[in-house]
Point group: C2
Chain length 281, copies 2
Amino acid sequence: MDDPARVERLLDAAVGGLTGPGCPPRLASALRHAVLGGGNRLRPRLCLAVAEALRPTRLAAAEAAAVAIELLHCASLVHDDLPCFDDAPTRRGLPSVHRAFGEPLAVLVGDALIVAAFDTLTVACVDDCDCAAALVALLARAAGTREGITAGQAWENEADVDLERYHQAKTAALFEAAATMGARAAGDVPERWRELGRRIGLAYQLADDLRDAVGDAQTLGKPVGRDAALGRPNAVRELGLSGALACLDERIAEVAHSVPDCPGRGELVATLERLLSRFRP
Amino acid sequence: MDDPARVERLLDAAVGGLTGPGCPPRLASALRHAVLGGGNRLRPRLCLAVAEALRPTRLAAAEAAAVAIELLHCASLVHDDLPCFDDAPTRRGLPSVHRAFGEPLAVLVGDALIVAAFDTLTVACVDDCDCAAALVALLARAAGTREGITAGQAWENEADVDLERYHQAKTAALFEAAATMGARAAGDVPERWRELGRRIGLAYQLADDLRDAVGDAQTLGKPVGRDAALGRPNAVRELGLSGALACLDERIAEVAHSVPDCPGRGELVATLERLLSRFRP
């Protein structure tokens, strides 16, 4: 059952481990700020929902996968907010990490969260190391230089950009990881679930474009109008507002059709519909 | 047998994987610049020397460990050179990554290399996933927020710093990882080898302090006098030049005594003496 409070408890425990004895005090504060400062936790909730729909006997691997994905996502937000990228003053309604703790700690927080994401997977899957290795490979692909978020961010520094490839790498890759890692953690073949993750990711990208174009900074807890200001592609500029909204509805409707057969399919579809309903601005 | 060319071949193959189809072209160039632009490869050579001294039947895991450690080290150099840290214009005789490719790509290169370090371990150890998981844990500890390089860098942002803890985390942790991961990859108990790594790391830190205080930027391929300029602790300032040199000789002499019993101990001691002889400025 989709339970946001469970995700918070898992993240709280993970950050507790990172900030334990030996951790420099300001780094510890910055890590807590980066991870525990709100967020809708879509990716870990998707990961857990997929795993639970497969009715595994134990959830430890899926919980580790969910935590790893959210830590990696937080790392990408902290680095993406840096002055040399988006120069965002706020995130999740709070000062961005570099505004609150300075750039050096923001760089280190991102680095530390990437390390922690991978460490989490092997610590939790100690009695099923095949599973741990598979999860590491899935997460590395989603974070990587060829089709992962590093590639996605790097496309912003290229003269020629294929928009679909950019969105796929920057946004969809981590949703794919959420679906495939949840499936693998529950013992299923991960590639059966990639298309579902991809579709949710592309719907999310469109929703993000809409929020950036017509959203309100106060409600969103982060700046708006950044795509236009930074000259980046945005679906609203390309399709117009009503075109982008229609496209979003279409993408959301497609998601339910791409849920693979599994014991808890009905419940999973209902959970996804609830999560996706929030995508509309 | 210590063979620097082998380390270069392994790193070349690793970077080839990262920069394959799908990788944005400028990111690919920046990754090559960061990893293949020289360097003495001390840590991977230590890792391989320890593994070989244990006479394993196969070296694939040790080679993966060596690559992972050097990728993580390169990541830390690229981020450490950023304007918000050392603001170093050169590294290994070339422009630093942010000078050559801009800050956004320098941040991304560091991120990508951390991801790649962990990925490398599970890819190479696919037929021994217990070993892969153990190596991931050792690398995560060396990179981490409590006693790893992230902690080490973060101590530079604290008002109260314990100098020994700072050097241990910033420098010795990755040499410890080189020794313990080499041992684990060859099937030995890693903790037997931690003290050796620690001693080499502390000798290296002293050598680095000496180079910064009395070295020549042209020869070193990076700026000197940074500790004084940035107000950071430096052993030469504390002990004087002759005191620091004497301390370095003492530390180097201690290293041989901390090599554990193993089948190739004699060869390993000879290799270490050769590597450590370069520490004297």
